[in-house]
């Protein structure tokens, strides 16, 4: 069964399924680069107990698709897949998985890095951090997909 290239899900993430899906559809590829984002046990001096992720799911899927399209425009021979998990996640669990496939490893690495940087800029998902002694909503970037300077920043980081 085909795995969707973009998803927001409550289920445990499966990186191998993403890699298999990209591999199944790209016989010209020479590299697939994975990225796995994990829930870590500390943040800004706090001892993290678990995270709850919340999404505006319809818009989150649209934003992820936009990022995948942006990556393809920047590295035209490259395909990206990305799944983001929501709900309660324990320490060490994967919150996001990305795989980028390309004939050339440089493009695959760059597209993978670009994707995670853009996710943090424009995808409407939030972390609710539960730490020893309290909880806090984490707030990062004001999401604006039309902010060209932010997009250029992600691109520069990807190519660094």
């Amino acid at each position: 069964m085909a795995v969707p290239l973009v998803a927001v899900t409550n289920d445990v993430l499966n990186l191998q399924a993403l890699i298999d899906e990209l591999g199944r559809t790209g016989s010209g590829d020479g590299a697939i680069t994975p990225f796995v984002g994990l829930v870590r046990d500390h943040n800004q001096g706090r001892r993290v107990e678990y995270l709850e992720y919340e999404a505006y799911e319809t818009l989150a899927v649209r934003a992820l698709n936009r990022i995948v399209d942006e990556a393809r425009q920047a590295w035209t021979d490259t395909r990206v897949a990305v799944h983001h998990r929501v709900g309660r996640l324990e320490i060490g669990e994967a919150s996001i998985i990305i795989a980028a496939a390309s004939p050339h490893r440089a493009h695959a690495f760059a597209a993978c890095r670009y994707t995670i940087e853009r996710v943090k800029q424009i995808v409407p998902i939030w972390k609710h951090e539960h730490f020893a002694g309290g909880d806090v909503w984490l707030e990062g970037a004001t999401a604006d997909p039309d902010d060209e300077a932010a997009r250029q920043t992600a691109y520069r980081i990807a190519c660094a």
Partner: protein, 81 residues
């Protein structure tokens, strides 16, 4: 006109609900909906400078027109990944 308001993360916590239905005077923009909301719940006002907005699950602007039945979302700065 009647619109559905969606709130997320800390905005949802502050409002006590992630989904509200409100009548706003027409012709309305996203700004009209936001003013209606902040008048009712002043604590939300601190997000005016940092939030993003969406209409019918597409990113939008405060000046965008809103129509009967639209879903208008107010989004705190994001923290996915």
């Amino acid at each position: 006109m009647r619109v559905t308001i969606r709130l997320f993360a800390r905005l949802r916590d502050l409002a006590g609900s992630g989904e509200l239905v409100r009548d706003v005077p027409g012709p309305a923009t996203v700004q009209t909906v936001w003013r209606t909301l902040v008048t009712e719940m002043p604590a939300l006002g601190e997000y005016e400078r940092t939030m993003s907005v969406a209409v019918n699950a597409d990113y939008s602007r405060m000046t965008a027109a809103v129509n009967e039945g639209d879903e208008v979302a107010f989004l705190p700065p994001v923290s996915g990944g």
